[in-house]
Structure formats: C-alpha cells, structure tokens
Amino acid sequence: MSNYLTKMIEPGRVHRDIYLDPEIFEIEMDRIFGRAWIFVGHDSQTPHAGDFITTSIGRQPVVMSRHTDGEIHVLFNRCGHRGAIVCNEAKGNARKFQCLYHGWTYNTDGTLRGVPLPEGYPEDFEVGKAGMGSLPRVDSYRGFVFACLNPDVEDLESHLGPTKACIDNLCDRAPDGEIMLTGGVHRYRFDGNWKLQLENTLDSYHVPFAHESTVDRSGKQFSRREGDAEGAQVVSGEEEETHHTWKERGAWAFDHGHGFTGNTALDEKTRSSPVYDEYKAALEARLGAQQAEEVLTPFFHNALIYPNMSFMGLNMHIRVIKPVAVDRTEVNVYPVLLKGAPHAMNQSTIRLLNVTHAAASFVQTDDLEAFARCQSGVVGDSSKWVYFNRGLGEHTEAQNWGGREGKSTQELVLRNQYDGWLEYMGGAAT
C-alpha cells in the first residue's frame, strides 16, 4: 500500500488531502468504488421485462435492466464497438438496446444481438464477444440491487452485516413487506467532496446548530411524518430530560464503514391521523398488533451502507451518493413508498420529503451550504487535519448487533467510515 495513503487517517482525525487531492480521488474510484458492493437501484424501478434505469458505479456509467427471463442485470453502459453510451435516458423500456453511432444492438442482458454489415470484420475478430459487458457480481437483498466490479468480493449479505436489519425494518413497514422507489427522485449537487455527504448522513452533532432555522421557539422541528402532531425536539430547551434524550441516542458502527444512528425521540404512542391509522391497521392485519408496534417503533434514524447509499427511517427515503470529481458530488434521493399502504400514506411521504432532503428543502439546503464551506475553507493552512474525535475511545462492543456502539453525537460512526476507507484503499490494486 502506498505509504502516504495510510498516513491520511489517524485516530480521531483525517488529513485534508482526502477532500482536495485529485490523485487520491482517482485512487478512491479504483479501490473503493472498484472493490466494494455498490448500491445500484431497487427491483421496483424495473418491474417489467425490458425496463431499465441508468446510473453510475463510481464514475462508470451502468444500466440496470430486467431481461426477458425476469433476471436483473447490471451492465456497463458502453458500446462494445467505440465505447459510446448505449442507453441515453434515465429510465425506460426497450426490447433491445441500440448504439446511436453504428447501430450495434444488444439484448437486455447486454449480449450482442447484431451489427450492421457483419461480413466486414476480419475472420479472427469475435464480434459475438463484444457485448456491453456485465458487472462481475450482481446480487440483491429484499429488492435492493447491488453490483461489484471485484469478482472476488464476499457475498452481499455478509457484506451488509447488521445493516440488513435496517433494510428489513424499512421493508417490514410495508403491509405487503416490500418497498417501492416509484415516487420520483430528487437530484441535488454540491461543489464538495463526496465524503462530506457521507459523513453528514450519520452526523447527529450538527443538527441543533446547522438546522437551527428549522425549529420553532420551543426548539421543536416541523413535523416530518404522517400522523405526527409536531416534530422532534431538536434544540435542547431548559428541560434537562430533553437534553438527556438527545445526548443519549445511540450509534452503531460495523465492518466496511457501515453504521447507523439511533432513532429520533418522537412519541410513537400519540402518532395518529386518519391516513396513518388506516395504514397502521393494514400493517396490524398482516403482522398482528404487537409485531406491528415493534416495526413502527424504528430503532434507527439513518443507516449508511458504505460507500454510496444511506436510508432514513424517520421520513423515509434512500439517498445515493455519486462522486463526480474531487470537489463535485451529485446525490439522488428517492422517497420510500410502502407496498400495500394506503395511497394517501405514500403521498404524504412524497410530500414531506420535498421539504426535508431535496434541493429546495428546509433541511438539506443548510447541509449543502456546510459542505461547500468545508470544501472552500479546509485549504487554510492553520491545520492539515479535520477532526472526528468526539468520544474517541469511549465506545463499547455492541451487544445487540455486533460491531461497536457509541452515542450519536459522538463521532464513532464517522471515524468508522474512515476505517472502511483504509480497508478499501489499502492493499495492492486488483
């Protein structure tokens, strides 16, 4: 391993060059996005044969498609001939994929279907081998589709580890046991490094200050879920108890950089509205009252599956982080709809996500401002380091989940991302 990369991460702090150095960014694309399981999409985005979406793995354009046999494929979005993008839309349905340039056509599993004037090729050129190419590994867990450029990566479920329980909780909230990413997408971007967004997903320390303008005089945020009369207590008032609740929220850190923060303290017992009550009844009909209550008292706030996806249990969404350049990042945010839930319940989720984690939302706008200011300010030479040392060394071994346990306002789950970073960045390039 390049010695200088190991020196980027120290206990409780990371070197600023990991946000600024274009060479390190290139190595991240090779070694993190080229070695880890990367979230690509969800089953519900391509329900029918021929359905496809386009996205990227690191900076490599890919297509997720459902072939005629019903299988999901993740293909390089690259013509085998001259390398042009083949699928040009964000999503669609196609009987075949055709390159615009010389008309090479592919089946929806990426195999070459035909080329114009095939007799023009030399005899030893195997046209049949020039497909779009599939990602070496593709697998899914409860409809969450991941792909990996490394053929030797461990199996997906081992990779996900305890974060599987967070996926399970999200899916179990649907009366039919499945989520749907069919409620559109929010796309935002910022002039900053991709890891700024990653850190932020599990950073509970920033909330009372960065999002101060989202709370009222009593320190409560606006309501973010169907059925809540009011939002969470964000800024601690004089009540010692509130302060305590905020500080005592847990956070859990796992192998490969994954982790999650504990649930926002909201009064689940008083959560009620005609729409919510109808949804709850539908869930109880499937699970029974006791199990439904367990599912509806979520144990996590935000979960991160390193390195490119997080999902939130409070106002439900999936967030996909796409590095563009060392100082440029795009993020796509999808409302999580619950299959079998009343239509109005899913509409409420869509509506509230507009004002929390979107480009024009009340919450995300201030995070984006923070990312941009970090990227601009960190070049200052007062220090070459940024700090993640809250609660350093104070974690315990997690009893319920494995891994390590700390408090959400400590920075264990952020330091853990850099343990993941070192794990992938280490070792010889494959």
Binding site: R187, A210, V333, Q347, N354, V355, A360, E369
Partner: protein, 160 residues
Amino acid sequence: MTIVDHRKIELFLIHEARLLDERRFDDWMELFTEDGIYWVPARPGQESPDDESSLFYDDRRLMKTRIARLNHPDMHSQNPPSRCCHLVSNVLVEPAVGGEAEILVTSNAIMVEYRRDDQRIFAGKNTHKLAPSGATFQIASKKVELINCDAAFAGLAVPI
C-alpha cells in the same frame, strides 16, 4: 377580457415578481388564497404533485414554515442572501371555460439569482390560477415549469 383587464392581470404578476425580488416573502404568501398551492414540478410533463417528488409543492402550511425559515437570522444557506431578479413576459390570459370564477394565466418567466460569486438562471413557463378579489386578485395556484426541472440542483433556498 378587455385590454384593461389584461393589463390588470399583467400588473398583478409584476407585483408578485417584485415582492419576490424584494424578499417580502410574507407579503408574497398573502397573495395566495387560504388553500393556495405553489408547485414546481421536478420532471417535464409531471402530472401530479402528489404521486411524485417536486422541487416545491407548498400549501399555505408548508409555505409558512418555509418563510419562517427565510426570516430566521440563522438560515445558513441564505447567509449571504440570494439577490434575485424576476422577469415576467409573454403573458396570456386563457379564455374562460364555462362559468369559472378563476382566471387561468400563462407567462414565461426568468429568474436570475446571484449569491456569493455565483449567478444562475432559471427559466420556464408559469401558470397562475387567479381568483378575483375586490379590485385585485389572489393566487389559487402557481405552477412553475422550469426547462431544467429534472437537473441536479445546487441548493434552492428561495421560491422561484
């Protein structure tokens, strides 16, 4: 629809644009009816604000939260504040269908936003449903169809 009526509508849209330029957000909100809607779709041709994500989809309740935040001294994404210039043009009053009291008005609009060395341009088609109210109007709904509505945006802190 007389020329005078048409001019009255045009002046109302200019007034609305002026309120946004001057960051008089409370006054802007008061232009809307109690059940008024402000909608900026996130996809060309988006039919419903209910079944798909939108850039903005505010009723008066969400608008009020949004504007309380815009008035908050610690809204970091508006420090420094955006300076905006709205232009309204190509105003057309659609012929009334049946006996509807609301007037449908389409216009082309451009907003130029400047903040901390960055200037951006938003352009698109506005559709207002206006409810006559005494000598003036109230906005029953305003829909802003941006030509780049499905782009990845940097933060959008102020209404368009």
